[in-house]
Amino acid sequence: MLLTFFEWCEATVLGETIRTSLWLFPAIECVHLLGLVMLGGSVLMVDLRLLGVGLREQPIAQVADAGHRLLTTGLIIMLATGIPLFLSEAIKCYYSPSFWVKILTLLPAIAFALTVRRRVTGADPATVNDRQRTLTAVASLGLWFTVAAAGRWIGFS
């Protein structure tokens, strides 16, 4: 069932076009990488702030607000380029453990960023303790690191 869906993805016009082109895959991948800089930069800025590193004079909510806009922009760039890349090699992805690690970590990573982390960073500082901040930052960093590392590893498998 799932494999049928992946086969359908691989057969899409977009997937087919990218697969048969010499330069489309590398070009899209470069933009995917630039999206990583924006997404990763914003994740680091906010999570390090939660750990008391980096922009520590600025209120957490202020850093998180700026970070949220960059995160959503970066995420849109990554999805807009990542989906076409996936379509061009869907069958390879189906058989790649790295791909599954990446996708199954990506969903909780996005959900965590938009819910728990958003609430912890946006809350009145008096209602959140350091332990909660540290846990939030470590969870966020761990999730996004796994997504990025597994994503890179798809290319090696």
Binding site: L33, L34, M38, L39, G40, G41, V43, L44, R152
Partner: protein, 183 residues
């Protein structure tokens, strides 16, 4: 001259071991790529502050003071892993036009940093909380964004062998730019 040095380097046992390793090379490569978030990510944040596209509610001097140590740490890791990657395939990298373009862009990016710090940035204390900075500062920010984007793109393209010397015939321009020795 350089070619001879890199040919000898390619024959050293550690270079061969790194080149042929099943795990070490991919791990170094992955570290190189993931460190982009730290190095280019924090540099981008500062550039967006300079150009007035993000973090405009924070003082420029504070953003710089707090982000620069992270950017520096990222740079050290990028260079360390980058040197190892070069060492794994010295001749191939040396004769790759994307690698050569990347090095050129890095020199220009470094020049931009130097000009910025010894020029308009000396007046950072005058800027305070101002969202919009002087034209020279904004230009330095755009130049940095553009140059590092070029470094990342050409860096990614080093992996492709389209213009490699062992694939002939190439145009005379490619052979010249890549430094190919064509009989």
């Amino acid at each position: 001259m350089l070619l001879t040095i890199f040919q000898r380097m390619a024959e050293t046992p550690w270079s061969v071991a790194l080149h042929e390793s099943l795990w070490v090379w991919p791990l170094i490569e992955s570290t190189h790529v993931l460190t982009l978030a730290l190095f280019a990510g924090t540099a981008m944040l500062f550039d967006l502050r300079l150009t007035g596209r993000a973090l405009t509610s924070m003082p420029t001097a504070t953003v710089m003071a707090r982000l620069l140590p992270l950017t520096r740490l990222g740079f050290v890791l990028m260079v360390a892993t980058g040197l190892l990657l070069f060492y794994a395939s010295p001749v191939r990298n040396y004769q790759n036009i994307f690698f050569r373009t990347k090095m050129l862009l890095m020199v220009l990016a470094g020049l931009n940093v130097w000009l910025f710090h010894n020029g308009i940035y000396r007046r950072v204390h005058e800027w305070g909380h101002a969202a919009e900075l002087p034209r020279a500062a904004r230009m330095a920010g755009w130049a940095s964004l553009l140059l590092w984007t070029g470094v990342i793109v050409t860096g990614r393209l080093v992996a492709y062998n389209w213009f490699d010397c062992d694939i002939q015939p190439q145009s005379a321009f490619v052979n010249w730019a890549a430094g190919c020795v064509v009989p």
